[in-house]
């Protein structure tokens, strides 16, 4: 069963900007799916259309088999959205925000109260239930939006940069929460600029750029395509210049820091052996970039280069 099925979805804005150029996308029920892309790539437009916030120019969207045009109310009843920006009524109490949302989905008051309590406890917001929402901290506001999106128990939860601007501790707790929600059977579509987040949480991924899907595959398969890992080495002693070791790209970043590109085929042993022979002692090592981040940048760069080739040919 497909939670979301998009076919030939196009959106051209009034100014003539073509935000989506006929994309096709499928998300299986139960999946934790990442939709990534640089700013202005079209991912927010795609999400906006799925959530009925943006009118599509053409194409179809089906949510659990229900057409968003023909079976509008049925399709929408499956969706929960956590938007990028705070959009709840800042003058309402936290509990009322959830109760109103439940009411919009036709949930009777008694049941809505139970669900609101459950969601607020899950988000660790129960003691803030009677607080006017504008008095909450940024992280709490984000959690209110997630609780609001969950109050009608959606089958498809769309998270549009849910952890933007929150500190690492809250982000980690939100990751745990998203995992739990997904484990309970809710399909999740996540957009984020924190690629570590997508790599940690998502099983499948689509990358959108210039209104087109340029990659749509499973996360594990995509990550195997990383051929070079980038590391930062902290050294015991200063080095004047980057040492040369065959098969590795080594740059001197600072007196005691090297940046090293390690091809998967060569591995780390040979690198350490070479450094040892040059009497360079390594104190510690860490990943310089997240693997998905590297791939993402490569894919976007490849696409940009392709576009430039195309324009040159034109």
């Amino acid at each position: 069963m497909k939670a979301l099925s998009i076919r030939k979805l196009q959106k051209t804005y009034a100014g003539g900007v073509q935000a989506l150029k006929g994309i096709d996308l499928d998300v299986e029920a139960g999946d934790f799916f990442a939709l990534l892309g640089p700013n202005g790539a079209g991912k927010s437009t795609a999400i906006g259309i799925v959530c009925s916030l943006v009118n599509a120019s053409s194409g179809t969207v089906k949510v659990f088999g229900k057409d968003l045009r023909g079976q509008r109310e049925e399709a929408k009843s499956h969706i929960g959205l956590v938007p990028q920006e705070i959009n709840f009524n800042q003058f309402e109490t936290v509990k009322n925000i959830l109760l109103i949302q439940a009411g919009y989905y036709g949930i009777p008051r008694r049941e809505a109260l139970q669900r609101a309590e459950q969601c607020l406890k899950q988000m660790d917001l129960w003691d803030k239930r009677d607080t006017v929402s504008r008095r909450l901290s940024g992280g709490m506001k984000r959690r209110v939006m997630i609780a609001r999106a969950l109050v009608h128990a959606p089958q498809l939860l769309i998270l549009d940069e849910p952890t933007a601007g929150v500190d690492i501790e809250i982000r980690r707790s939100m990751w745990q929460l998203m995992r739990e929600v997904n484990a309970q059977g809710t399909t999740i579509i996540l957009t984020t600029h924190y690629l570590e987040e997508a790599e940690n949480l998502c099983r499948n991924i689509a990358i959108i750029d210039h209104g087109e899907i340029i990659e749509n595959t499973d996360m594990a398969g995509l990550l195997t395509r990383v051929h070079i890992d980038h590391f930062v080495l902290d050294l015991a002693r200063e080095v004047d210049r980057a040492p040369h070791i065959d098969g590795y790209q080594i740059e001197r970043f600072a007196d005691k820091i090297l940046h090293v590109g390690v091809p998967k085929a060569n591995g780390l042993n040979k690198l350490f052996q070479g450094l040892s022979e040059k009497n360079i002692e390594v104190l510690s090592l860490k990943n310089r970039t997240n693997r998905l981040e590297q791939l993402f940048l490569d894919l976007i760069d490849t696409k940009a280069a392709g576009d430039q080739e195309f324009f040159r040919a034109e």
Binding site: L81, N87, F88, Q90, L99, Q101, Y104, Y105, G106
Partner: protein
């Protein structure tokens, strides 16, 4: 059933909004209309005498009540719906599975309730100045509800198109208030020169005020059936237009 819950949710939200800020929404009309009744009705009215067989105070009470109903039913919807757009919590409604007619019905009902409540407040205030006996209760109630409905719809349309807070004050200040004052709140159109009588007949508010005045004191400058037909005609037109705007997402969708 689901739609009934959604409808009740919107109406309850709207009523809670204006009752929570009652000093801004329910109290001002009490003060303003007290001044109208004191200055125009009691002080000036004594010198004017009777208008169409009614004392001047009795003559202006229905117009003042309906003027308050008009401005408050309009203001409730235009400010509430625009604020919803401004704060972007309109997205809560757009994402959820609520049909457009339920959204429209919920907001308009909120406007009607505030309009009727304000009407009751003004009626209560008027009872301190005159002993009014209502000529036709059902007609009076029907005109109040229909007028509140019409102007709640007009407020909704204004809010759909509005891009700023300025946009929601232009129509009340420059169209509704002048039309209300020129709609025979404080005078009978028969007191005007003939040319102005004809021009006044193009003012839809004149018909509503006179229909209500007929319901309250049995006096009207226009045919009450025609007044009801015009009001209902505008309601149908504004309802269809509002639904069209919601369907197209004018001002609320990209």
């Amino acid at each position: 059933m689901k739609y009934a819950v959604a409808f009740r949710t919107i109406v309850a939200k709207e009523v809670r909004r204006f009752t929570r800020i009652w000093p801004q929404t329910l109290l001002p009309p009490a003060v303003t209309t007290s001044l109208y009744f004191l200055i125009f009705g009691t002080l000036i009215g004594k010198r004017i005498g009777e208008v169409n067989g009614a004392s001047y105070m009795d003559y202006i009470v229905p117009g003042v009540i309906l003027m308050s109903v008009i401005s408050h039913s309009y203001a409730n919807v235009v400010s509430s719906f625009y604020s919803t757009k401004f704060q972007r919590n309109i997205e809560e409604l757009l994402v959820s599975p609520i049909p457009n007619w339920v959204i429209l019905g919920g907001y308009v009902s909120g406007g009607i309730i505030r309009g009727v409540l304000v009407g009751c407040v003004v009626l209560l205030i008027s009872s301190f100045f005159t002993d009014l006996t209502v000529h036709n209760v059902w007609l009076s109630a029907a005109v109040v509800v229909l007028t509140a409905t019409l102007f709640a719809l007009a407020g909704f349309i204004n809010a759909m198109f509005a891009d700023s807070f300025d946009d929601i004050s232009i129509i009340p200040n420059f169209i509704l208030t002048p039309l209300s004052y020129l709609g025979g709140v404080f005078y009978s159109v028969s007191m005007l020169p003939e040319i102005w009588q004809k021009i006044s007949l193009g003012n839809p508010i004149l018909y509503m005020i006179n229909a209500f005045r007929y319901g309250m004191i049995g006096v009207s400058d226009v045919d009450v059936r025609m007044a009801l037909a015009i009001t209902c005609g505008f309601i149908v037109f504004f309802t269809l237009f509002s639904l069209f705007l919601l369907h197209k997402g004018v001002g609320i969708k990209t």
